[in-house]
C-alpha cells in the first residue's frame, strides 16, 4: 500500500479535472464527488499511515517513482514521492481537515451558483498540497508549491465580481511568486552543486559543500518559505486573502498551505543544520512575524482579518521552532498540526457566524451571539482555549514546548515568544468577547441563527481534535515518530525548570486575558470603530498592517509602475523612434533630392553634361597626378 502515494494525489486531481470539464448537469452532485474524492484520499492516507505505524522506525520511509519527468542535458528529475513519517502526518492533516472543510462547504456554498467550480478548486488544492508534501524532489515539490499557489489564487478570487477579491487574488499570487523566485533559485543551486534536486540527496550531501553554499541554499529556501507562509517580509498578501470564501481561509490560509513554508524548512533540515546563519535568519523571521501578526490581530475589527493576523503569528511560532534546529523541528510540526485543527475550527466558526450575520465580518456589529448560535459558540470557545494555551488543550502542549525550546536556545527569543503568547491571549479574548458576549450590536434585518448540521458537524469534529490533539505529545510520541525524518533531537536544558516556565506562560496568558476583559468585557465596545485619529499609534499601525502595503507600494509597486510607464514611453519614442526616425530622415533626404527633378528635359541634359564635365576633370586630374 505504501507505494500508492501517487494515488493520494491522483484521486483529488481526477476529481478536479472531472468537475472542471463536466458540464452543468453535474452541478447537482459535483460537490459530492469532490467530497468523496477528498474522503477517499483521506481513507487511503489513513490506511497507509497505519501501515507505516506498523513498520520499524528505520523503515518508515517509502519512495516511489512514477518514472522520468524531465531528462535533458545533465538535468534529470523523476516523478518521485516519499511517504514517510513527516509527510504521513501532513497527508492526514490535509485530507482530514480538507474533507471536513469540503463537508462544511456543502452548506456554506449551498446558494452559490458556481459551487461545482468551487469544489473543483478545492480538490485541485488538495491534490497540489499533497504533491507538495509527498514530493521526493524539490522540483516536484515546486510543482505542488505553485499548484497550491494557483489554487489559492483561484479560491481567493472565487468571487471575482468583487474587484477587491480579484485584486487580492492577484496580490497573493504575485507575492507568492516573489517567494517562488527564492525557491526556484534554491533548486538551481541544488542542481549546480549536487547535480540533482532530490531532497534526500541534497540533505545527504549538504555536508560536502562549503558553509557559504549551505547558507545560501538555506536562505533561498527560507525566502521561498516566507512567501508561501506569509512570513516577514512577504507577509502582505495574507490579510487580503481573506477576501476568499471562509472555508478557503480555513483550509488554505490557516490549516495547510500557509504552513508549507514550515514544512519546507523542516524537510530541508539538514541544510539548515549545516548553516547556523540560515537558522538564525529563520528564528529572526519567525520572531518578527510572530509579534507582528499578534500586533495586527489586536487591532483588526474584521473577524477574519484578526484571525489571519493570528495565523501569521502562529506560523511565526512554528518558524521560530523550526529555526531552533533539531530541538524544535518536532515541536514546529506538532504546533503546525494542532494549529491546523484549532485555527481551521475557528475560521469555520467565524464562517458560521458570518453565515448567520448576513456575511458581515465586523466584530463591532456582533455581540451576544452566544445564545443565538450555541454550537458555534462552544466549538469556537474550544478553539479559543486551545489557541491561548489553556492547560489540557492541544495548544497548551504545542506552544509550551516551543517557548521552552526558545528559552533554552536564547533568553531573548524565549521572551519574545512569551510576549507573543500574552498578546495572543489578549486578542483572542477580545475576539471572543466582542463576538459572543456583551450586548447585541447587530444591524437591523440581521437575524442570527445557528448553521445547518452539515456545517456544524465539521465544527464539532475539529473542536474535538483541538481539544485532544495534545495526546500526540504524550511520552514524546511525536518527537520519536518524526525522528527518522528530522533527525535526532538533542535537548538543551532550559534556564528554568519546566514547571516554572509553564507557570510563567500561564501567568502571561492570564494577564492577556484579564487585560482584554478589562478593555472589552467590562465595558461595551463601540458599535462603530473609533476613527484612526482617535486611536493610539499602536492601533493605527496595526490597522494599517504595520504599513506593509505602504512599504511595498513605496519600494516596489510605485517604482515598477513608473519604470513601466517610462519604458513604454521610451519604447515608442526612443527605440521605435530611432526606427521610424531613420525612415523619416530617409524620406526627408529623398524629398530634398526630389527638388532638382524639375521634369524639364533640358535640366536633366544640363546635369548630364555637367556630369560628363566632372568625369572629364576627374580623368584629367588622375592623369596629371
Amino acid at each position: 500500500m505504501l507505494d500508492l502515494s501517487w494515488l493520494l494525489i491522483a484521486i483529488p486531481l481526477a476529481g478536479a479535472a472531472l468537475l472542471l470539464t463536466w458540464g452543468k448537469e453535474s452541478d447537482a452532485f459535483g460537490h459530492l464527488i469532490a467530497t468523496a474524492c477528498s474522503a477517499a484520499s483521506f481513507v487511503l492516507g489513513a490506511i497507509m499511515f497505519v501501515e507505516l505505524l506498523g513498520r520499524d522506525a528505520g523503515d518508515r520511509s517509502v519512495t516511489t517513482s512514477l518514472g522520468t519527468w524531465i531528462d535533458a542535458g545533465h538535468f534529470h528529475v523523476d516523478f518521485a514521492f516519499t511517504f514517510d513519517t513527516l509527510s504521513s502526518l501532513f497527508v492526514l492533516l490535509i485530507t482530514g481537515v480538507g474533507t471536513l472543510i469540503h463537508v462544511y462547504s456543502i452548506g456554506y456554498m449551498a446558494h452559490d451558483e458556481r459551487r461545482r467550480r468551487f469544489f473543483a478548486y478545492l480538490n485541485l488544492f488538495i491534490a497540489a498540497m499533497l504533491c507538495l508534501v509527498l514530493a521526493a524532489d524539490y522540483l516536484v515539490l515546486f510543482l505542488g508549491w505553485e499548484g497550491v499557489g494557483l489554487a489559492s489564487y483561484l479560491l481567493i478570487g472565487f468571487w471575482q465580481h468583487k474587484p477587491s477579491a480579484a485584486a487580492a487574488a492577484k496580490k497573493a499570487f504575485v507575492i507568492n511568486r516573489v517567494g517562488d523566485l527564492g525557491m526556484a533559485l534554491a533548486i538551481m543551486t541544488c542542481f549546480a552543486w549536487f547535480g540533482t534536486s532530490s531532497i534526500a540527496v541534497v540533505n545527504d550531501q549538504i555536508d560536502t559543500v562549503s558553509g557559504t553554499v549551505a547558507t545560501a541554499l538555506g536562505l533561498l529556501l527560507l525566502w521561498g518559505a516566507c512567501g508561501k507562509s506569509a512570513q516577514f517580509p512577504l507577509q502582505a498578501w495574507l490579510l487580503d486573502a481573506m477576501e476568499g470564501p471562509t472555508p478557503v481561509s480555513a483550509l488554505i490560509h490557516a490549516a495547510t498551505m500557509v504552513t508549507a513554508g514550515v514544512y519546507l524548512v523542516v524537510r530541508s533540515h539538514d541544510v539548515f543544520d549545516a548553516s547556523p546563519t540560515a537558522r538564525g535568519f529563520v528564528i529572526a523571521v519567525g520572531l518578527i512575524t510572530l509579534l507582528a501578526g499578534a500586533w495586527i490581530g489586536c487591532t483588526k475589527d474584521d473577524i477574519k482579518k484578526s484571525l489571519a493576523g493570528s495565523t501569521m503569528s502562529q506560523i511565526g511560532y512554528m518558524m521560530l521552532a523550526a529555526g531552533l534546529g533539531p530541538a524544535g523541528y518536532a515541536f514546529a510540526i506538532f504546533h503546525l498540526l494542532t494549529h491546523g485543527f484549532f485555527k481551521a475550527n475557528m475560521f469555520l466558526g467565524a464562517g458560521s457566524v458570518m453565515h448567520g450575520m448576513n456575511d458581515d465580518v465586523d466584530m463591532r456589529r456582533y455581540g451576544a451571539l452566544r445564545s443565538a448560535m450555541p454550537i458555534t459558540f462552544y466549538t469556537f470557545g474550544i478553539g479559543y482555549l486551545a489557541i491561548i494555551g489553556f492547560p489540557g488543550t492541544s495548544g497548551f502542549f504545542s506552544k509550551d514546548k516551543i517557548i521552552e525550546a526558545a528559552l533554552a536556545h536564547n533568553v531573548w527569543v524565549g521572551i519574545g515568544a512569551l510576549v507573543g503568547a500574552g498578546v495572543t491571549a489578549f486578542y483572542m479574548t477580545r475576539m471572543m468577547l466582542m463576538t459572543f458576549f456583551g450586548e447585541k450590536r447587530w444591524r437591523e434585518q440581521v437575524h442570527p441563527h445557528e448553521s445547518p448540521s452539515v456545517m456544524t458537524t465539521p465544527l464539532i469534529v475539529l473542536a474535538a481534535l483541538s481539544l485532544f490533539a495534545g495526546v500526540m505529545a504524550l511520552g514524546s510520541w511525536i518527537e520519536e515518530w518524526l525522528e527518522p525524518a528530522t533527525g535526532h533531537a538533542v535537548h538543551h536544558d532550559p534556564p528554568l525548570p519546566i514547571i516554572v516556565i509553564t507557570l510563567i506562560v500561564l501567568l502571561v496568558v492570564a494577564a492577556g486575558v484579564a487585560l482584554a476583559w478589562l478593555a472589552y468585557g467590562r465595558q461595551q465596545p463601540a458599535a462603530e470603530a473609533p476613527a484612526d485619529s482617535e486611536v493610539s499609534f499602536f492601533t493605527r499601525a496595526g490597522r494599517a498592517e504595520l504599513y506593509g502595503n505602504a512599504i511595498n507600494d513605496a519600494l516596489v509597486v510605485r517604482p515598477v509602475t513608473h519604470l513601466t510607464r517610462a519604458l513604454v514611453w521610451g519604447d515608442g519614442k526612443i527605440i521605435d523612434g530611432l526606427v521610424t526616425g531613420s525612415a523619416d530622415r530617409i524620406g526627408e533626404i529623398s524629398g530634398e533630392l526630389r527638388k532638382p527633378q524639375t521634369g524639364f528635359v533640358r535640366s536633366y541634359a544640363l546635369m548630364v553634361l555637367g556630369g560628363a564635365l566632372v568625369v572629364l576633370l576627374g580623368l584629367l586630374a588622375v592623369t596629371l597626378a
Partner: protein, 512 residues
C-alpha cells in the same frame, strides 16, 4: 523525398485554395485548407517512423543540384531540433486554420487568398526548418516575408499597411545583412575548393577571427530581428496589433522561431568561436529582453500588444538558453520554442476571439467577462498561466531547463532572468483581472461563450500544453541527442558541475 513532399503538399494546397472558385461563404476553401493542413500533420507524424531517435545528426537527408555554377543544392535534412520545429508548424497550422474559421466571413471574396497565404506560410516555414543548404535557407527565410506581408497588410485591421511595411522593411534589412554574410561564405568557400552552400562544407571553412565575427554578425542580426530580441523588437507589437489572430500565431509562434532556430543551427554551428566571442553581450541582451518585454507587457493597453511583448520576454529566455552553451539550457531553449509556440498560439487565438466579440483590443474595454463567458475566461487563464510558466504546464519545463542551465554558467544572469517569472505573473494576472473579473462591463454583458467549434479548435493546444507539462519526455528525447553535437562545437562544452568541495569555484560563482 519525405521532406520535399512535406513542403510540397501545403504549397500545392495553397495553390489549389487560391485557385478555387470563389464561393458565397468561402466554405470550400476552409475545408480544403484544413484538410491539407491535417494531411501535412499526418505526414509529419510519419516522419517519426523514419527518424531514428538514437542517432544524433541529420537524417532524412536529400540533396539535388540546383544552381551548379554557384554550388547551390536543394538540400534538406533534419535533426531533432529541426524535427521539433516542423512538428510545431504542422501542429499549429490546423489549429490556426480551424480557429480562424470565421475570419473573413464578412469578406468572402478574399477567403481563398487568406487561407492560401496561411498554407503557403506553413510550407515555407517547413522548408526553412529543413534546409541544410544556406542558400536554400536564405531564399525560403526571405520568402516567408511575402505571405506575412500580405496577411498583415491585406487582411489585417487598423494601421495595417504601416505595420506591414514596417515589418517588411525591418525584416528585409536583417535578411540583407544575412545575404551579405552568405556572399562572404560563398567567397570563402570558392577560395577553399569550389563554391558550396552546404552546411557540411561551410562548417569546415577556415576563416580569420575578424571574418568569422563579421559573418556571424550578419547572421545574428537577421535572427535577432526575427526573434525579436531587444532592441530590435519594435516591429512586432505593431504587426501583432494589426494582424488577424491566425496571422499572429503563424508569425510569432512559427516564423519568429526561425530566428532562434537559425541562431542554433547556423550561428553556433558555422561560427562557433565568434558565437563564443559574442556570447557575453548576447546573454546580457537576452536578459534585458526578458525583463524589458515583461515590464512593457505590464504597461500595454492593447491585448495583442501585450501578448507580443510577452513574446519578446519569452524569446529572451530562448536566446539566453541558446547562448549559455550548456546542453541543459539549449535543450530547454528548443523545448521552449515548441512550448512558446503552443502557448502564444493559445493566447493569441483566445484574445482574437475576445476581440472578435467585443470589437476592441483595449484592455480597458473589457471587464467581468468571466461571469458571462466562463469557458472563454478559463481558457484565457490557462493560456496565461502557461505563459507565466506555472509548473505542470509545458512552458515551465522549458523555462526551468533554461534557467538551470544558465545558472550553471552564470549565477547573476540566471537570477536576473528569474525575476522575469515574477513580472510574468504580474502582466498576466493584471490583464486577467482587468478583462475577466470585476463588475460586468455594459458592453461585455452580451458576450457569447466559446462555441463548440472554437473549443474544438483550441482543445489540441490545451491538451498539449497540459500533457507536455507532465510528460515532456517524448519531445525531449527527440531534442536531446541533437543538442549535444551543437554544444560540442561551441566553446568548452558543458561547464563542469560545481564540485562540492572546490571552494574557489564556489566563491567565483561563474566559470567564464
Amino acid at each position: 523525398m519525405m521532406l520535399s513532399l512535406l513542403i510540397a503538399v501545403p504549397l500545392l494546397g495553397a495553390l489549389v485554395v487560391a485557385l478555387l472558385p470563389r464561393s458565397e461563404d468561402g466554405r470550400t476553401a476552409r475545408y480544403v485548407a484544413v484538410g491539407v493542413s491535417i494531411l501535412t500533420l499526418v505526414m509529419s507524424l510519419l516522419l517519426l517512423r523514419e527518424f531514428d531517435l538514437e542517432v544524433g545528426g541529420y537524417q532524412l537527408t536529400e540533396q539535388h543540384e540546383w544552381i551548379g555554377a554557384f554550388g547551390v543544392h536543394w538540400a534538406l535534412g533534419v535533426n531533432g531540433i529541426g524535427l521539433t520545429m516542423i512538428f510545431l508548424t504542422t501542429v499549429l497550422t490546423p489549429i490556426v486554420l480551424a480557429a480562424s474559421w470565421n475570419d473573413k466571413a464578412d469578406d468572402p471574396g478574399r477567403t481563398n487568398a487568406y487561407f492560401a497565404w496561411l498554407l503557403a506560410l506553413e510550407a515555407l516555414a517547413i522548408g526553412v526548418f529543413a534546409a541544410t543548404d544556406v542558400f536554400v535557407f536564405y531564399v525560403l527565410f526571405e520568402a516567408t516575408l511575402i505571405p506575412l506581408y500580405f496577411l498583415i497588410g491585406g487582411h489585417g485591421t487598423g494601421r495595417r499597411s504601416y505595420a506591414a511595411v514596417k515589418f517588411l522593411i525591418y525584416n528585409l534589412l536583417g535578411g540583407l545583412l544575412m545575404l551579405a554574410s552568405i556572399v562572404g561564405l560563398y567567397v570563402l568557400s570558392t577560395q577553399q575548393g569550389g563554391p558550396s552552400f552546404l552546411r557540411a562544407d561551410l562548417a569546415g571553412l577556415d576563416m580569420s577571427a575578424t571574418t568569422e565575427r563579421l559573418l556571424f554578425l550578419g547572421f545574428f542580426i537577421a535572427f535577432a530581428i526575427k526573434a525579436p530580441m531587444w532592441p530590435l523588437h519594435t516591429w512586432l507589437p505593431d504587426a501583432a496589433a494589426s494582424a488577424t489572430p491566425g496571422t499572429n500565431v503563424m508569425m510569432v509562434s512559427v516564423i519568429d522561431k526561425l530566428g532562434t532556430f537559425g541562431m542554433i543551427i547556423w550561428c553556433l554551428e558555422l561560427f562557433p568561436s565568434a558565437s563564443e566571442w559574442a556570447a557575453p553581450v548576447v546573454l546580457v541582451l537576452a536578459v534585458v529582453s526578458i525583463l524589458y518585454g515583461a515590464l512593457l507587457a505590464i504597461g500595454q493597453a492593447d491585448l495583442r500588444r501585450l501578448v507580443a511583448m510577452t513574446s519578446v520576454s519569452h524569446f529572451g529566455f530562448i536566446i539566453l538558453g541558446v547562448f549559455a552553451f550548456t546542453s541543459t539550457s539549449m535543450a530547454g531553449s528548443v523545448l521552449y520554442m515548441f512550448n512558446h509556440g503552443l502557448t502564444t498560439a493559445l493566447l493569441f487565438l483566445v484574445v482574437g476571439m475576445m476581440i472578435a466579440r467585443r470589437g476592441s483590443g483595449l484592455i480597458a474595454d473589457y471587464g467581468g467577462v468571466q461571469k458571462v463567458a466562463p469557458v472563454l475566461s478559463g481558457v484565457l487563464l490557462l493560456a496565461g498561466l502557461a505563459s507565466l510558466s506555472l509548473p505542470g504546464l509545458a512552458p515551465f519545463v522549458s523555462e526551468f531547463l533554461v534557467l538551470v542551465g544558465t545558472f550553471s554558467r552564470s549565477i547573476p544572469l540566471a537570477a536576473a532572468a528569474t525575476v522575469g517569472m515574477v513580472l510574468a505573473a504580474v502582466y498576466i494576472l493584471l490583464m486577467f483581472q482587468r478583462t475577466m473579473t470585476g463588475p460586468l462591463n455594459e458592453r461585455t454583458s452580451t458576450f457569447r461563450d466559446l462555441s463548440p467549434r472554437e473549443v474544438g479548435a483550441l482543445a489540441p493546444a490545451i491538451v498539449l500544453i497540459i500533457g507536455l507539462g507532465f510528460v515532456p519526455q517524448p519531445l525531449l528525447s527527440v531534442i536531446d541527442p541533437a543538442v549535444d553535437p551543437v554544444i560540442a562545437t561551441v566553446g568548452e562544452g558543458d561547464p563542469p558541475q560545481r564540485a562540492p568541495l572546490d571552494l574557489t569555484q564556489q566563491t567565483e560563482g561563474d566559470h567564464e
